[in-house]
């Protein structure tokens, strides 16, 4: 579904030239759950921006569902983001003035979905993350974990090809983080493609495949034969407490 060929990204020119990606090849198939790892400066953020169609590569090719999206213009890129990418950010990035439901609806507005259908899709997405009853709360009235769930619902609502999460547990305590990981695993079991960008080995260990970057190149790309189960981990780490809906 995702095919990246000899992708490079170079910032600046001449003496100040910085090579962020030095020729990356990557394929991600539908239904995978991939962790992209690397220390800071390895190019993992740049790769995430490329995969998320937020930026244009300097050279190389990027296909989503067989369609070249590397060199398209800003507006087409916005459309690809809207239809194919569901972003989940470390800092949640919800719009503070909107309710949870309105936040989830926003990408559907930009897609031009009619209000009635929009409400329905957004409500379904909120139900899926277990916050169907919190639709009329504003982000400030929700806990960090709940906010991240709303953000995941927003990413799901537009029914994208992939969920692209950048350090989704980075701003959460370890227990809530574990719950969010559980949600990603559950969504993946339902067939959704998940790409997690992280520097945390424990988070990466929940994925079926781990891609490691260093100095703008993929240095390893391995299947994880025994991914951690987020629920089991939750039990192991925090005992038999209530397990969040997943």
């Amino acid at each position: 579904m995702i095919a990246i060929r000899k992708l490079t990204k170079v910032y600046g020119s001449g003496d100040t030239k910085v090579v962020a990606l030095a020729g990356v090849d990557l394929d991600i198939a539908s239904g995978e759950m991939v962790a992209v790892m690397g220390p800071s400066g390895s190019g993992k953020s740049t790769l995430m921006n490329m995969v998320g169609c937020l930026d244009r590569p300097t050279s190389g090719e990027y296909f989503i569902d067989g369609k070249e999206v590397g060199q398209i213009d800003d507006n087409q890129r916005a459309e690809v983001r809207n239809r194919h990418i569901g972003f989940v950010f470390q800092a949640f990035n919800l719009l503070a003035k909107l309710t949870a439901l309105q936040n989830v609806e926003t990408p559907l507005i930009y897609r031009g979905i009619r209000p009635r259908q929009r409400h329905q899709w957004a409500q379904e997405a909120l139900d899926r993350v277990g916050l169907g009853h919190r639709g009329h709360h504003r982000p400030s009235q929700l806990s960090g974990g709940q906010q991240q769930r709303v953000a995941i619902a927003r990413a799901l609502a537009a029914r994208p090809s992939i969920l692209l999460a950048d350090e989704p547990t980075g701003a959460l305590d370890s227990r809530t983080g574990q719950e969010v990981l559980g949600l990603f695993q559950a969504l993946n079991r339902e067939g959704r493609t998940v790409v997690l960008v992280t520097h945390d080995e424990h988070v990466a260990a929940h994925c079926k495949r781990i891609v490691r970057l260093s100095d703008g190149l993929i240095v390893s790309d391995e299947a994880n034969a025994a991914p951690l189960d987020a629920h089991a981990e939750l039990h192991r780490l925090f005992g038999g407490g209530e397990v969040a809906h997943a």
Partner: protein
């Protein structure tokens, strides 16, 4: 498609978040638009007033005035003009004698005195409510008769008195009251048009030692006739004076044009001064929109990441600016109209809010929103989503 309604809804959320700031930003436009409405209403009121004054003098009139003392209109010119210009219906030689003391039955005060002709009722469309207008014979024989305005009657003889047959003293002579002129009420600037004495111009000219006609007013049946007569009369006097600049012949239409173009300049000037404050209001909007774009950089980044196109962001911020300017404009129109009513009372002069000035001000406030809102909106729409998301 991101519909207009959605843009308005999103823009409204942006504005309603900071009510005090929104109000202060609008205030600039409110002040600008109300200033334009109020001041232009003064100009347009002046124009309407001047026009009604001129038409109140009668219709299809031509004013003939010599330029400079050397050129005279004399009594013998009248029969000559009658022959050359058969389209002239009425002749009204006029001597504005100015203010003079009038005395009658113990009362005495300064009143404006005008020497005029027997055609006055036809030309000025103002008859007598009592008695009769003086005749052509009265004029040719320089009879000392007078028609009084209603205010003058009250001042000299008391409220409701009948002045007919009474005698008044004017410029050392006795004048016999033969009529009371129809009331015309209060004119431009509060002048009482019923406080005057009208006498045969021949009689007053003799008392003033005047052997010419300072102003001759002619009346024709139609505006078209007026144009022809204006030319004929001009030709006559140019030949007589042997000088093309010896006389000024002006039809009422020309006078209206002149006055209208003057009041229009007046209106434009007032409007232009007021527009400066509207422009200042627009700069206020631009300033606030720039601040708002920079404060909401992250919001813009989020919206772009989840699929907002440049156009969506541009529209959102442009509509915010438009809501500010148009709401300000509507409030300004209401306040300006109230202000113009206030001015009407203070200036004793009907300020006039016309549909035109309302539409133009509304259009201006719309324009201010687009012009001053466009640049901030463009900046917002051109933000790079990655940079924008990085901002706190």
């Amino acid at each position: 498609m991101f519909t207009l309604i959605e843009s308005i809804r999103v823009a409204w959320l942006g504005i309603s978040g900071n009510k005090l700031r929104t109000f202060l930003t609008m205030l600039g436009v409110i002040i600008g638009v109300s200033a334009v409405i109020a001041l232009v209403s003064v100009g347009q009121g002046a124009q309407a007033q001047a026009t009604s004054q001129i038409t109140a003098l009668g219709s299809n009139l031509i004013t003939v005035m010599p330029r400079g003392g050397g050129y005279r209109i004399e009594a013998k010119d009248l029969p000559e003009l009658r022959v050359r210009s058969p389209l002239i219906q009425f002749f009204l030689p006029t001597v504005s004698a100015g203010q003079h003391t009038v005395k009658a039955s113990g009362a005495s005060y300064q009143v404006s005195v005008e020497g005029t002709g027997a055609d006055y009722p036809a030309v000025r469309e103002r008859g007598v409510i009592n008695g009769a207008w003086f005749s052509e014979e009265d004029v040719t024989t320089r009879r000392r008769v007078a028609v009084l305005g209603t205010t003058t009657v009250t001042k000299l003889f008391g409220e409701g008195a009948d002045p007919m047959g009474q005698t008044i003293r004017l410029m050392g002579q006795s004048f016999h009251v033969v009529g009371v002129a129809e009331s015309k009420g209060t004119g431009f600037g509060g002048q009482d048009q019923d406080d005057l004495i009208l006498v045969p111009y021949t009689a007053i000219a003799r008392l003033m030692g005047l052997n010419r006609i300072p102003t001759l007013i002619l009346k024709t049946a139609s505006a078209a006739d007026s144009t022809i007569v204006t030319q004929q009369v001009t030709d006559y006097f140019v030949t007589k004076f042997r000088n093309p600049d010896g006389v000024r012949v002006q039809s009422q239409d020309q006078l209206l044009e002149t006055v209208n173009s003057m009041t229009q300049i007046f209106t434009l000037l007032l409007g232009a001064i007021a527009s400066i404050s509207l422009a200042v209001g627009g700069i206020g909007i631009m300033n606030i929109m720039l601040v708002s774009v920079s404060e909401r950089t992250r919001e813009i980044g989020i919206r772009k990441a989840i699929g907002a196109k440049k156009r969506d962001i541009l529209l959102q911020f442009l509509i915010e600016a438009l809501i500010l300017s148009v709401t300000g404009g509507v409030i300004g129109i209401l306040l300006g109209s109230l202000g113009s009513q206030g001015l009407t009372k203070v200036l004793n002069f009907p300020a006039l809010v016309t549909t035109d000035s309302v539409l133009i001000s509304f259009g201006f406030s719309l324009g201010v929103g687009v012009i001053f809102g466009f640049y901030p909106a463009l900046r917002a729409s051109n933000l790079d989503p990655i940079e924008a998301l990085r901002r706190e």
